[in-house]
């Protein structure tokens, strides 16, 4: 009875601390947060004399940000919605940033200093197409200035102050695509020029203040026009024809249009191939890029053009920068080996050439944005923002890289964890020990002061600083607790980074795709990465390594390649271009004699290729082949198929190639069900115990199988987003399927529910999140599966007599009787990603990590998602830790693992175990990265940092003193007694 009471007390104690929570001064102790912006596609410099110099950029990740030009730090950043790609950015009135997004249908203005959105205008464009923004400097109505947005055949003038549409003009001509708008100085008329169906040139005169159409003219073009143009002066522009070998010089004077065809071969000698017109806005100069070089061409007088400069290699050319009336500057950047040459050309002539060494893991230059500043001697200096192949951003000035940002990390597509090297045995000097001891004591004295609330603010700052720069956590070696690890991430550009869990710094980075680029592999892209060798036992001397798999072209049938990379140094150990395609990489729970993990690469013809290639790997695989199964979810066909492997494949006679044999298929009726989500258990998840003891001392056996696949389907009408389906025509069906036999273990239908569905499978349960249309709220459901065939093992007599089936192997071939328990709850937020904590031995209770719509990560105790919850739990159930049932899952702010940080555009959450059973690492990524360590049941197996050693020391000293004092006192007393 007493023991029970104690147990209850302990549970109560643990109940009182549901949430993972930290104190404010613990921020940054175990966590780090890195902010990125993504691959820059537009940049506008703001370098006025007063105020901070900054550059406003928009990126492919739909982010807009203002960066400090001195340091590259983010001053502010906003991430727009997924379908809200930025088309153009501009500055207006010197204080607003204008962004045109969603294919020219939304115009927003942001306050330049702090990034507050000032106004937003929906331009109500019926058929969004390529559109452009033109800020009119001198169209003034009062103090306002207008910005023009052209889209197809319509123009809208938007006031810069409040975003109201001042006028709009639909030119209502079929096939009209406006190309350029300009306004002669000191005039109220604007000229809009466009092409109609690539054969007609049209010119419109429009009153800038009212939008009234004053005049229009059209003329047939002598060539078929492509969409590339370059505006060269206030009354002329250059267009490229569809054959990409002729230029058309178009002039429009006083309402008439003249056009003149100029073959490119006349201007540029040895011209061949297809030309490209680089869009610039400059005075009489335009840039043509041909396969062999870049030509700067000047227009002189009537219809005469002249080649004024050439850059020999096909470099990257920036937009033009106007220095003065006559002077136009371009930046041309070439890349060779590990240096880039940065050249500024003023009016086509070379004005400045600088060679800059950069790390070779950045690849080629992709984009360049030029900006100038005036030096003290009134000459022009130049700086350039350079976007590299790995999506990093560099600022270059005076021949050196001023700052660089690793913005490739904003597009992580996959991640794995690797161990750090083992610490080398080595002598630690006595001085060092004394020093650290002193530091240690000092630190603890400070901490004690902190706990006793005696510390001054200075001391507090010192404590914080001490926590942060603690060298222990940033060491490059393995630690006993497994807190220090490497997170190896793959980004969209194909660059691989190794991040240290201590502070998130980049240990090594490699851009691998250029190593492969060749005839046989034209456009390599890395698809996924896996742990290739995780040394333990036999191969402890070998470094761990990582497998990277990709394909050479865009199509699914293009050949694959693989890399093996050392995870300590990032060195490429092996490169191989495969003779087959890659559809999927299946890691197997097997390893060969040198601890290399076996992987099956499935190609598009459903053949399986075994890697690593080695006789012992083959032997291991062939021995286990009969127990290997593979399944494939074909979303498009609404089918799930299961396969077994057989010897000999359809495409070749290689011993490492195996064929597949279809075993089963689950076909969903396509007119009533669409697959929207599939999830399965992590293959390396550890389960501590199969038995679960119920309140009434009963035992339930969890049905633990690695082959459980969760699949969710919705009705076709509900396959769209929320708001598109009525509750009556929407349903969601959840299946649990055994992937070996294709047996449907459980099936449940939720009427009136729809996706998006996010699911996580762990141990014997699955938790999934979906939208309930009837209640119009999100819901989460938990299904737990129990093995009924083992349920009668409770009988002690049977156990004694050995008549139990506990030792029977768990196999998918037998059809165990299973029972499921399920419960649903409301959940407040939309969910972007869902994961579950994993610990080294699976003893610690689980938390579900939910990436919410607010880009935060919430750790929700699994106890809240327990089907045994009831509204009025009995005393015994309470003691066991069952929480009274509520209809909504609670969101406790302290249980956000990201606390006050946001992981912009959250895409994935990863949890991996530390060596310490209580603790797990959580890494979440989107545009930002966030890492922390959490202890779902608190750190029961180690003392926390909070533990005050000094207090302990003081206690011990006090105790010793007390013992001595009492001893002295008792002696004295004895003496007195004897004298008496």
């Amino acid at each position: 009875m007493e023991a029970r009471f104690l147990l209850g007390f302990l549970l109560l104690l643990s109940l009182s601390s549901f949430a993972f929570a930290i104190y404010e001064d613990q921020v940054g102790l175990a966590d780090w947060h890195k902010r990125y912006i993504g691959k820059v596609k537009h940049a506008v410099f703001h370098t006025q004399k007063t105020g901070r110099r900054r550059v406003v950029v928009s990126t492919e990740e739909n982010a807009i940000a203002s960066l400090d030009l001195r340091t590259g730090d983010i001053l502010w950043r906003h991430v727009l919605g997924k379908n809200d790609a930025v088309d153009q950015i501009g500055l207006s009135l010197g204080k607003y940033v204008l962004t045109l997004s969603s294919q020219g249908s939304v115009l927003r203005a942001w306050n330049l200093p702090d990034g507050q959105m000032v106004w937003e205008t929906d331009l109500q464009i019926s058929n969004p197409s390529n559109s452009f923004l033109h800020a009119l400097g001198n169209v003034k109505s009062g103090r306002d200035s207008l910005s023009l947005v052209c889209n197809g055949g319509s123009i809208r003038a938007v006031s810069s102050i409040d975003g109201l549409v001042v006028w709009k003009k639909d030119l209502s001509v079929d096939g009209l695509k406006l190309k350029h708008v300009f306004q002669p100085p000191e005039s109220d008329t604007i000229y809009a020029i466009g092409f109609i169906d690539s054969s007609l040139i049209a010119l419109y005169h429009i009153n800038a203040k009212t939008g009234e159409l004053l005049k229009h003219a059209t003329q047939a073009s002598s060539v078929d026009l492509s969409s590339e143009i370059s505006a060269i002066s206030s009354d002329s522009l250059v267009a490229l024809d569809t054959s990409r070998s002729n230029l058309l010089l178009i002039k429009f004077m006083a309402g008439t249009i003249t056009n003149h065809k100029l073959p490119l071969s006349d201007i540029v000698q040895d011209f061949s191939g297809l030309a490209e017109l680089i869009p610039t806005k400059s005075n009489d100069i335009f840039v043509v890029k041909t396969p062999s070089n870049v030509a700067f061409i000047k227009v002189k007088g009537d219809n005469e053009i002249e080649l004024i400069g050439k850059a020999d290699e096909a470099g990257i050319v920036s937009d033009s920068l106007t220095l003065s009336e006559e002077e136009q500057a371009f930046a041309v950047v070439h890349h060779s080996n590990n240096a880039i040459s940065f050249q500024v050309r003023i009016n086509g002539r070379e004005a400045l050439t600088e060679g800059i060494k950069i790390e070779d893991h950045r690849g080629h230059v992709k984009r360049v944005f030029l900006n100038n500043y005036v030096r003290t001697d009134k000459s022009h200096g130049f700086r350039a923002l350079i976007v590299m192949e790995d999506e990093s951003l560099l600022l270059m000035q005076q021949g050196e890289v001023v700052w660089s940002r690793e913005d490739g990390l904003a597009s992580i597509s996959d991640a794995v964890v690797a161990e750090l090297p083992v610490e080398k045995e080595g002598g630690v000097s006595v001085v060092e020990v004394e020093h650290t001891l002193l530091e240690w004591l000092k630190g603890h004295m400070l901490k004690l002061k902190g706990t006793l609330m005696l510390s001054t603010p200075d001391d507090m700052a010192a404590i914080q600083a001490m926590h942060l720069k603690s060298t222990e956590r940033n060491k490059m070696t393995r630690d006993h607790n497994g807190f220090r690890k490497l997170i190896i991430v793959l980004t969209r550009s194909g660059k691989v980074y190794a991040l240290h869990t201590g502070d998130g710094r980049i240990v090594w980075a490699h851009l691998l795709t250029p190593l492969l680029q060749s005839e046989s592999c034209p456009s390599p892209s890395v698809l996924t990465l896996r742990n290739w060798r995780v040394p333990h036992r036999k191969a402890l001397q070998e470094n761990p390594s990582i497998l990277l798999v990709g394909r050479c072209g865009a199509g699914p049938e293009s050949h694959g390649f693989l890399f093996i990379v050392d995870s300590y140094s990032g060195k490429v150990l092996e490169t191989q271009i495969l003779d087959h395609s890659i559809a999927e990489v299946v890691p197997l729970p097997l390893a060969d004699s040198s601890e290399q993990k076996l992987h099956l690469v499935i190609d598009d013809k459903l053949n399986a290729h075994l890697y690593p290639r080695g006789s012992d790997a083959l032997e291991v695989f062939v021995r286990e082949m009969a127990n290997m199964y593979y399944y494939k979810v074909e979303n498009a066909k609404e089918v799930i198929k299961g396969y077994a492997f057989k010897k000999g494949c359809s495409t070749g006679s290689s011993a490492y190639c195996f064929g597949t044999r279809e075993l089963w298929s689950v076909v969903f009726p396509s007119d009533s069900e669409r697959i929207v989500a599939a999830a399965r258990r992590k293959i390396n998840e550890v389960v501590h115990t199969q038995a679960k003891i119920m309140t009434n001392q009963d035992v339930m056996y969890k049905y633990i199988s690695k082959n459980i696949l969760f699949v969710a389907t919705v009705s076709p009408k509900a396959a769209g987003g929320i708001g598109s389906a009525a509750p009556d025509e929407a349903w969601l069906v959840a299946y649990l399927i055994d992937t070996v036999t294709g047996r449907i273990l459980h099936r449940v239908t939720h009427q009136g529910a729809q996706g998006p569905v996010h699911a996580v499978v762990s141990e014997n349960w699955v938790v999934y999140h979906y939208f309930n249309l009837r209640a119009h709220r999100y819901e989460m459901t938990v299904i737990e599966i129990y093995d009924q065939s083992r349920a009668d093992n409770k009988d002690v007599m049977k156990l004694v007599l050995g008549k139990h089936n506990l030792t029977a192997p768990i196999t998918s071939y037998s059809r165990p009787e299973i029972a499921t328990k399920s419960q649903s709850y409301f959940f407040t937020h939309s969910v972007k990603a869902i994961a579950v904590t994993t610990t080294a031995r699976g003893i610690t209770s689980k938390q579900i990590l939910i990436g919410t719509i607010g880009d935060q990560v919430l750790a929700l105790d699994k106890r809240y998602l327990d089907p045994r919850r009831t509204a009025n739990p009995s005393q015994e159930e309470k003691e066991e830790g069952i929480i009274p049932l509520t209809d909504t899952l609670p969101i406790i702010p302290q249980s956000y693992v990201t606390h006050t940080r946001q992981v912009g555009d959250l895409r994935g959450i990863m949890s991996f175990p530390a060596n310490l059973e209580s603790t797990t690492h959580v890494f979440s990524y989107g545009i930002d990265l966030f890492y922390t360590r959490i202890a779902p049941s608190r750190t029961y197996d180690s003392l926390t940092d909070e533990f005050s050693y000094v207090l302990l020391l003081i206690t011990v000293v006090v105790l010793i003193v007390a013992i001595l004092v009492t001893w002295a006192m008792s002696q004295k007393k004895d003496l007195q007694e004897k004298w008496r």
């Binding site: 104190y23 727009l80 507050q116 929906d122 019926s126 929320i722 249309l773 207090l951 006090v958 004092v965």
Partner: protein
């Protein structure tokens, strides 16, 4: 002071009157079937409150999200936001803010009665007659440190040890005093016979 509060009250009254005159702004937009949803995020009552983040709440960080991410918009300085070209049907609006917790809002755009919009908080099913979104509570992400107290120190394991020591030092001798020395000696002898070592034994044995 009083005057300014009166003024604020007047402004609030005016706002509420103006809100009564034009309830939820919803209008069929020019480009066809879509409707506009316009609303306001209001933090006024929350600004003065204690704040766990250490900086003042910023509207610029507040996003309004339609249907779980289909569209995202930002809040203007005055708190207003709008979605355009939204088809008729039932939609969900969420406000993402690091500083506050907002309830999602269910918005019904009637197809039969064009432009009629009804809104309700999904968390407590409260109907809104105007689309003004107010935070349910501000978010406190950190545990608050208990202020130092003697009690917590005493309650800690070390405190308990010291407490016990004190008890042994001062209370036990007093208890011993009450015992007759003869009985005490007898008891001690008995103990010695049974061979049970005890602290008092040890102390006595040393002397």
């Amino acid at each position: 002071m009083e005057r300014s509060s009166a003024l604020i009250g007047l402004i609030f009254l005016l706002i509420s009157i103006s809100c009564l005159i034009n309830p939820i702004s919803a209008a069929a937009s020019g480009s066809g079937e879509g409707y506009s949803i316009a609303g306001r995020v209001k933090l006024d009552n929350f600004v003065t409150k204690g704040f766990g983040l250490g900086h003042s709440p910023k509207l610029s960080e507040t996003k309004v999200i339609l249907n779980g991410g289909q569209r995202t918009t930002f809040v203007r300085p005055d708190g207003y936001f709008s979605f355009h070209d939204v088809p008729a049907g039932t939609h969900l609006i969420e406000v993402s803010s690091i500083s506050y917790l907002f309830s999602p809002v269910r918005v019904d755009i009637s197809a039969r009665n064009p432009g009629k919009i009804q809104a309700a908080l999904t968390e407590n099913r409260r109907a809104l007659n105007e689309l003004v979104l107010e935070p349910m509570k501000d978010e406190q992400y950190y545990e608050i440190r208990e202020p130092f107290s003697m009690l917590s120190l005493v309650k800690s394991p070390m405190g308990l040890m010291i407490g016990f020591m004190v008890l042994v030092m001062f209370v036990f001798p007093k208890m011993m005093d009450g015992v007759d020395p003869e009985e005490m000696r007898q008891a001690q002898e008995q103990m010695r016979e049974h061979g049970i070592p005890s602290i008092s034994n040890l102390v006595a044995g040393r002397s």
